[in-house]
């Protein structure tokens, strides 16, 4: 039984090691980009009066649902963020579910989740500065008391780390439990745990990561509310 869960290097590109994570990330990127291109192609070329196919209707339903869901959470000010958040959600769902096809999920690598968390961190802080102005933003760190400044800074920096570790821990934990289960019961029994650890947990964690990013960004761009986390 193979009990090694570190990321394996698949091949070398010159001197750069290419890991499983990179390969599956590029695979998901290719599928999403080419798929998006293919399913939206007919929207531009269709003539007025021409009926669109089933694919187009499903795409419309999906995009409409994502727009209304993200718009509800982020409010009218957050409409500019909808494309980014929808992409994040789609990518994370694909990344967590690719384990079902036998690939290693990219989110079971701390590098991927820390990368996403860094992007969320920059988005949160950048929009906080943009909406409040630099002076008010720095002043916000000294509230409610001056001597709480270090705690506020630590709190801000801890946010991306806790987001990254939550996603990483959940996916890797599920992967390890499934591997242990395959070790002593390889036939039929792992089917049900797959539904929980891969389908349910994966979709919920992708949803949670996107949701937390959305809530924090909405909190940063909403000037009326006090920033708290």
């Amino acid at each position: 039984m193979d009990l090694e869960f570190s990321v394996k290097t698949m091949f070398y590109l010159g001197k750069i090691p290419v890991t499983e994570t990179v390969v599956s990330t590029w695979l998901i990127m290719a599928v999403l980009v080419i798929g998006s291109f293919l399913v939206t192609r007919r929207f531009k070329t269709a003539k007025p009066g021409e009926t669109l196919g089933t694919t187009e209707h499903v795409v419309e339903l999906l995009v409409d649902g994502l727009y209304s869901f993200i718009g509800d959470v982020m409010g009218p000010k957050g409409e500019a963020f909808i494309p980014y958040m929808a992409t994040l959600l789609l990518f994370l769902v694909c990344a967590n579910l690719i384990g079902l096809l036998g690939f290693r999920p990219p989110t079971a690598d701390l590098n991927t989740t820390l990368g996403f968390a860094t992007m969320s961190f920059i988005l949160i802080q950048g929009n906080g500065i943009r909406s409040q102005g630099l002076f008010k933003f720095i002043k916000g760190l000294f509230e409610p008391f001056v001597f709480l400044f270090p705690l506020n800074v630590i709190g801000e920096i801890a946010t991306p780390f806790s987001m990254a570790f939550r996603l990483f821990g959940n996916i890797l934990g599920g992967m390890i439990i499934m591997a242990l289960l395959y070790g002593f019961a390889p036939i039929a029994i792992p089917v049900l745990p797959h539904i929980y650890f891969d389908l349910f947990s994966g979709i919920i964690q992708a949803f949670i990561f996107t949701m937390l990013t959305m809530v924090f960004v909405a909190m940063a761009i909403d000037e009326d509310e006090e920033e708290e986390n």
């Binding site: 869960f5 570190s6 806790s162 570790f165 821990g169 949803f207 949701m211 937390l212």
Partner: protein, 90 residues
């Protein structure tokens, strides 16, 4: 040489013990998430029309409550599969 082997065995054994003891932290998130789910069920019972909003808020809160448990899981995984203490032996 024999002593080094003994030291290695002690470190590995205590690391495994530490990983197991560390996962007791799973108690906290379990209680917290169960409490949140119970409150969510109560809220849905009182206001069934807001079920979607309540479920969303509940899941978000549970995810945040889960953080401490996930931290202990990461530490346990580190101790089991990428033990940082073995470095000090050589």
């Amino acid at each position: 040489m024999d002593q080094l082997l003994l030291a290695r065995a002690i470190v590995l054994g205590l690391s495994a013990l530490g990983a197991g003891v560390g996962m007791i932290a799973g108690l906290g998130p379990g209680i917290g998430q169960g409490y949140a789910a119970g409150k969510g069920a109560e809220a849905v019972g009182r206001q069934p029309e807001a079920a979607g909003q309540i479920t969303q808020t509940m899941l978000l809160g549970q995810a945040v409550a889960e953080t401490t448990g996930i931290y202990s899981l990461v530490i346990a995984l580190l101790l089991l599969f990428a033990n940082p203490l073995l470095r000090f032996l050589s």
